[in-house]
C-alpha cells in the first residue's frame, strides 16, 4: 500500500495542489484525470520530487520518499516523462540506465539479468541492439517503460504515456502496463486524457479540480455526472462487451458553420 498524505505545492502565492491525500494498492493502476492545467503532471512530479512539495508525505514501505536520499527514492519510484529525449545509445544501454540507482562502480551480473528479464517481458529482444533514434514512436515508448521497470520500483509514474502514439499502440502500451503492474505487483499512477483508455485499463480514478481531489474511487465512481462536472461537457457512459465507454453527448460540438452554398 502506498499512501500519499496531504501534499501541498504551489509557485509563490499561486496554489497548484492542496490537501492531496490518497492510497494506491499494489498491482493497481490509478488514472489521474482532470482538465488541462489542473495539476495532474504536477502531482506526479511532486511524488518523485521533481517538484519540491511544501508539505506532505509519500509513504512507501514505511519510509517517507520525500525525506530519503534521491538514489534510494529512485529504487522505489520510477518515472516516465511525457517527453523523452532521444539519444544515440542502444536499447540495451537505455534499459540498463534503469539500474543507475543500484550501480556502485560498474554494472553487475545481477543488473544484466534484470535487464534481460525486462527485455524478455516487454518482448524487445529483436531490437535490443538498435539505437534509440532508429525506433518507431511505439517501440521507443516501450523502451522508456522498460527502463523504468529495470529500476524495480514499487510505484511507477507515467505522464501521458500514450499522447504520442497511434490508437493501436495506445491500447498495446496500456495493456502492457496493466499486465506488468499485476505481474510485478507495482502500483501505477497514469496521467491520462483519454477517459476511454482509463476506463478500460485503470482500477482507480482520481480527478483533480480547483487544486484539490474532486473524486477518487473505483470504476463505480465513473459516472456521466462526474465527468460532466469536471470537464463541463455532457457525456453518456455506456457498457460495451462489459467495458464502460464514455461518449460525448451527440448534440455537443456540432459544427455551427454554415455550409457554403
Amino acid at each position: 500500500m502506498i499512501e500519499i498524505k496531504d501534499i501541498e505545492f504551489g509557485y509563490r502565492s499561486k496554489k497548484i495542489l492542496h490537501n492531496i491525500s490518497f492510497d494506491m494498492n499494489q498491482g493497481h493502476c490509478t488514472a489521474i484525470l482532470g482538465v488541462n492545467g489542473a495539476g495532474k503532471s504536477t502531482l506526479i512530479k511532486c511524488l518523485n520530487r521533481i517538484n519540491p512539495v511544501h508539505k506532505g508525505a509519500v509513504m512507501i514501505e514505511n519510509s517517507n520518499i520525500l525525506d530519503i536520499h534521491l538514489n534510494e527514492m529512485a529504487k522505489k519510484i520510477a518515472y516516465v516523462a511525457q517527453k523523452n529525449e532521444v539519444s544515440r545509445i542502444t536499447v540495451y544501454d537505455a534499459i540498463l540506465l534503469g539500474r543507475k540507482p543500484y550501480i556502485k562502480w560498474d554494472i553487475t551480473k545481477q543488473d544484466k539479468e534484470i535487464v534481460d528479464r525486462v527485455i524478455e517481458q516487454l518482448e524487445l529482444q529483436n531490437y535490443k541492439m538498435r539505437f534509440l533514434d532508429e525506433l518507431s514512436g511505439g517501440e521507443f515508448q516501450k523502451v522508456i517503460v522498460a527502463r523504468a521497470l529495470a529500476q524495480q520500483p514499487k510505484l511507477l509514474l507515467l505522464d501521458e504515456p500514450t499522447s504520442a502514439l497511434d490508437p493501436k499502440n495506445q491500447y498495446e502500451m496500456l495493456s502492457l502496463v496493466k499486465r506488468i503492474a499485476q505481474q510485478n505487483q507495482i502500483s501505477v499512477a497514469i496521467v491520462i486524457h483519454d477517459i476511454n483508455l482509463a476506463l478500460r485499463y485503470c482500477d482507480r480514478f482520481l480527478f483533480i479540480k480547483d487544486t484539490e481531489i474532486y473524486s477518487y474511487g473505483g470504476i463505480e465512481t465513473m459516472t456521466a455526472d462526474l465527468i460532466e462536472a469536471v470537464y463541463h461537457m455532457p457525456v453518456v457512459i455506456e457498457e460495451y462487451h462489459g467495458i464502460k465507454v464514455m461518449i460525448p453527448h451527440p448534440n455537443q460540438f456540432l459544427s455551427t458553420a454554415n455550409p457554403v452554398m
Binding site: Y79, N84, E85, R88, L97
Partner: protein
Amino acid sequence: MKNNSTVIEKQLKKEKKQKTYQQYIYYKIIVIVILSIVLLAVAIFAVHAGSSGISVWDVMKTIFGAGTKQTNSIIFGIRLPRVVTALIAGMALGMVGCVMQSVLRNPLADASTLGVSQGAAFGATVAIICFGAGAQNSASAANAVNISNPYLVTLCAFIGGAVTTMIILGLSRFKKISPQSMILAGVALSALFSGGSTLIQYFADDVQVAAVVFWTFGDLGRTNWTEILIIVCVSAASCIYFMLNRWNYNAFESGGQTAKSLGVNVSVVTYVGMAVCSLVASVVVAFVGIISFVGLLAPHIMRRFIGNDYRFLLPTSALTGAVLLLTADTFARLIVAPVILPIGAITSFLGAPLFLYLLFKGVGKA
C-alpha cells in the same frame, strides 16, 4: 506462403547476425585500444620530427635513458615537454568538451565556444601584465613571456573562466535559454573579455603587447615541467571526478527530469561539473593560451563511433583530443619549418567547419 517463409528466414538470419551486448562492449574497448596505439605512434613521431634529424631509434633510446648529451637536451629539454603538454592539454580539453556538452545538454558547448577560455585568457593576461606573474623577455616575441608565478596565473585564469561559467550557468538555469542562445552568450562574453584584454594592451608597452598577443595565439612549447605537473595534477583529479560521474552523464542524456528520477542530483552534478570543467580549461589556457574547438571536435568524432555512452565516450574523447592536438601541433611545427604556426589557428581551421556543420544540421539532431 513462400514469401512468408522467406521473410521469417531473413529475420532469423538478421537475428543471428545481431551483435550481442558483450560484443558491442568489446568493440568499444577495441576503439580505446586503437586510439591509444595511434596516440603512441603520433607521440613518437612528434618527438622524432624536427630539424635536428634524430631517428626514431635514438628517440626511444633517449627516452629509456641511453641517449647522448645532445639528444637528451633536445628531447627532454624541448620536444618531450611540448609533446607531453599536447597530450595532457588535448586529453583535458577533450574531456571538458564532452562533460560540458552533457551537463548543459548542448552539443555546441566547449570551453572556447562558451567563452570560458577567453575569460581564463583575460584572467591570465591580467596576472601576467598587471600582477607581474610573467617575467618579460624582450629578446624575441616567441619567448616574450616566461611565467614566473604559475600559481597566480592559474588562479587568475580560473577566476576569469569561473566568472564566465557562472554567467552561462545563470542564464541556462534562470532564463532556460536555447543551446544556440547559450553560444551567443558565449560570443558576447568572449567579446567582453577581448575588450578587456585590448584595454590592458592599450596601456602596455610594445614588448608587453607583443608578449600578450603572442601568448593568446596558443603555444604548446612554452611550458616547463613544473607547469606540466600542475596541468597533469588538475587534469588527473578532474578525470577521476568525471569518470565517477559517468553514469550520471548517461542519465543526463535522457533529460533532466528523467535523470532526477534515476537518482541523480541534477543541480549538484551540473554546477560541480561545470566548475571542474572551468578549472581544467583555465589551467590549460593559463599555460598554453587559447586552443579552440578541440573540446568540440573530439567528443563529436567519438559520438559517431561509439554513441553517447559516457563510460566510453569520456576516455575516447580524451584520447581523441590528445591525438588531434598533438597532430595539429606537429603539423604546425613541420609545415613551414623552422617557423612554428600558432596551434590555436590550426585547431580553429579544423573546428570551425564542424561548428558550422552542427549549426546547419540543427543542434537538436546533433
